[in-house]
């Protein structure tokens, strides 16, 4: 497939890895923000190609993992209403709420559907006028234009039985929250390429200046990630701190204007709670007043019981890159994909699940635990 295969080419990747090795003289800690980037790193074993000095910590760029527990409970409660058809991306289905996940209630008879696009949910609303179709709108800025369009169309066409449960989060505030933490060990960021594809990367300049950290807008294929690392390390090695764009084939500095306009028309910035991290001001989106009639939170008054996280789960520390998943006492034992204690073990992008499935299980005598990950 064009624009994918070339960035997975063995020769090119090996060459880039060599370029990194050549310019690395000291240990550096980098954070890749986006869950999709984590997925690639772990799935391709990319850490194996990096010199020992480079540590990649996985950031909170997994909207599934950071969706507040209370929001999952709300989705679950709404899904259980007999008139509701709850539509969601596949990612959300297995995330545990306080007591249940969407899949749990689906297997008990709730009408929960997996869709590829919010427009599919809108179509379900058109073809099922007697049902209340609720779309669980979770995501970062990348998904906001799509969700905005669905609401915009629903408004234009006056579709009464469509609504959205919104749990959108924004990346730059999360990066700032990580950087302002006293324990922060992150020295450079690989910024989320597809978020920047929509929003541009203007917002990163003030962050870069304030904290003096290199920020490299990076793509998702192995070659992209390695090039991003190379650019970040080159900056670190020479004492620079700039915003650079590795993913220029997809990202322009000003981003996608029509998409930003539609987002601004439908949504407004609000504060949001991030599961495992806490509340971050101005870090989320909610529907504007003019579109509030499509807000499922307002439309369905549901009872949420007492919301409680597992006391063992250290998701917050993992999401901020302060612990590796296998440093959690419950990892692989009490907490597994079959028996998750927290969201990062369930979401395919969650750092814990990625580590579990793709193999950094120290207790297995796993020959793949490289020295780069052991002891960090």
């Amino acid at each position: 497939m064009k624009f994918l295969d070339e960035y997975r080419d063995y020769g090119a990747v090996q060459q880039m890895a060599q370029a990194i090795r050549r310019c690395t003289t000291r240990p550096w800690t980098l954070m890749e923000v986006c869950g999709g980037q984590t997925h690639t790193i772990v799935k391709t074993g990319l850490q194996d190609l990096l010199p020992e000095e480079i540590t990649l910590v996985h950031g909170p760029g997994c909207p599934v993992c950071v969706t507040p527990l209370e929001m999952i409970d709300r989705a679950v409660a709404i899904a259980q209403r007999s008139e509701v058809m709850l539509c969601s991306f596949g990612d959300m289905l297995r995330v545990p709420g306080s007591t249940q996940s969407l899949f749990d209630v689906k297997s008990l008879g709730a009408d929960v559907r997996i869709v590829y696009s919010p427009l599919d949910a809108l179509q379900l609303a058109r073809s099922n006028p007697q049902r209340e179709v609720v779309f669980f709108a979770v995501g970062f800025e990348t998904t906001a234009p799509a969700n905005a369009m669905a609401v915009w169309e629903a408004a234009r066409e006056n579709i009464p039985n469509f609504s959205m449960l919104v749990s959108h989060v924004l990346v730059p505030p999360a990066m700032e929250a990580i950087l302002s933490s006293p324990d922060c060990r992150v020295q450079a960021f690989l910024a989320a390429g597809h978020v920047c594809m929509v929003m541009g990367f203007e917002e990163y300049f003030p962050i870069c200046r304030k904290y003096r950290v290199p920020i490299v807008v990076t793509g998702f294929e192995p070659l992209d990630l390695l090039e991003g690392v190379q650019m970040a390390v080159a900056q670190l090695e020479s004492g620079r701190a700039d915003v650079e764009n590795q993913y220029a084939r997809a990202v322009r500095r000003s981003g996608n204007r029509p998409a930003q306009e539609r987002i601004a028309e439908v949504f407004e910035v609000t504060r949001r709670a991030w599961r495992g991290i806490g509340e971050i001001p101005s870090s989320g989106l909610r529907l504007r007043e003019a579109y509030r009639r499509f807000d499922a939170e307002a439309r369905f008054a549901v009872e949420i019981g007492h919301v409680e996280e597992s006391s063992e789960c250290i998701a917050g520390l993992v999401l901020q890159g302060l612990r590796k998943p296998y440093e959690c006492p419950a990892f692989g034992t009490r907490c597994t994909p079959d028996t998750p204690l927290g969201a990062p073990m369930v979401s395919s992008e969650g750092a814990c699940a990625a580590y579990f499935h793709f193999g950094r299980r120290k207790e297995d005598g796993n020959p793949l635990v490289s020295s780069a990950t052991a002891g960090h």
Binding site: V13, Q14, G45, G90, D91, F103
Partner: protein, 346 residues
């Protein structure tokens, strides 16, 4: 209602979940905790696709499978094809020539007669191609709303022609891992017509009987150690099951394993990993290193395994893990799935 795939696994389950049918971890747990203790005997303990039995000196294989698929008719086949080929293939995986099949139909009230005829015609054709008669059967009808249209069970009997036991217990360190062709066609064909995810593209299920290819291997005296057809849970599940029982490590190379362009395109779009997508006409074969070249030649000379490749090797390591060397040279563990794979957007 079209259900996509299997849901959340849960710690202590007091009721059956859809995930128990997914073919992954939970299915195995169910077998280990409910069925095996109740029915324990040597044949069952071998945990293989079929049971190999000795009846007055004759070696027979027996297998059964119940087919549940939505939709009943999909690009490249019907539930009927799956039911015939699937059972024929399970017998083949025991090194047995299919001898006879039975077919049990659980029909939902209201199922269209035309659909039933289509499925039955498909079964007749599949049985003809596989050279196996359907010799007995059963029919029941359930109330509307309880049957998903049609559930189909086929049970097969075969004559074991493999001279030595074919199964995970025969796998040895150093064995070559062969895959009979490209991955994921069946799963993607089903998804292409599932509501909410449909797309256009020429993806057809790979449902087919594999016995001719297996027979050829056995006839030329290749020392086949193990065979496993790739069904739910894909290549990864098959390899994990074998590695776990054999207590050996299996390593495969991503770059060697074929995936067609359209299956790849669909997997990229939906965020699926082809190693976990279902197949219905593909199998893995474990043969000694010295037989690998010849085995591949033989497989490639049969249509059903024309795309056969050497995918990897077996190593001494009791952990029973399956590892993958990625296209770009890094390594990871190819883990067993929990539940079934879901499309993702992140």
């Amino acid at each position: 209602m079209a259900t996509l795939s299997c849901p959340l696994p849960r710690p202590a389950t007091d009721r059956i979940l859809l995930a128990h049918g997914g073919g992954g971890r939970l299915t195995n747990q169910l077998i280990e905790s409910v069925f095996l203790p109740a029915f324990s005997n040597a044949a069952l303990e071998s945990r293989h696709d079929g049971a190999v039995l000795s009846a007055d000196g004759a070696r027979l294989a027996m297998t059964t499978d119940t087919y549940v698929v939505d939709p009943l008719v999909f690009p490249g086949g019907t539930i009927g094809d799956l039911a015939v080929n699937g059972t024929v293939n399970d017998l083949a995986m025991c090194g047995a020539r299919p001898f006879a099949l039975s077919a049990g139909f659980l029909l939902e009230e209201g199922l269209s007669m035309e659909t039933l005829r289509t499925i039955v015609a498909a079964m007749r054709e599949a049985a003809r191609v596989a050279k196996v008669p359907i010799v007995t059967g059963d029919t029941k009808v359930v109330d509307k709303g309880k049957g998903d249209g049609l559930f189909l069970n086929t049970t097969g009997i075969g004559v074991v022609v493999a001279p030595h036991p074919v199964g995970p217990e025969s796998v040895r360190p150093g064995d070559a891992v062969l895959v009979s062709g490209d991955l994921g066609a069946h799963g993607i064909a089903i998804l292409s017509v599932r509501g909410g995810l449909e797309f256009e593209g020429e993806v057809k299920s790979d449902t087919a009987p594999v016995w001719p290819a297996v027979e050829a291997l056995l006839e030329t005296g290749i020392d086949v150690h193990c065979l496993r057809d790739l069904t739910r849970g894909g290549l990864s599940s098959a390899l994990n099951e074998i590695a776990t029982v054999a207590r050996l490590r299996i390593t495969v190379e991503e770059a060697l394993i074929p995936v067609s362009d359209v299956v790849r395109g669909a997997c990229e779009l939906l965020g699926l990993d082809p190693f976990y997508v279902a197949n219905e006409g593909r199998f893995v074969a474990f043969v000694p290193e010295s037989d690998a070249g010849r085995a591949l030649e033989i497989l490639r000379s049969h249509t059903v395994s024309a795309g056969a490749v050497r995918a990897g090797t077996v190593y001494e390591n009791p952990s029973g893990i399956v590892t993958l060397r990625s296209r770009v040279g890094g390594n990871r563990v190819l883990d067993m799935l929990s539940g079934e794979q879901l499309p993702r957007i992140c």
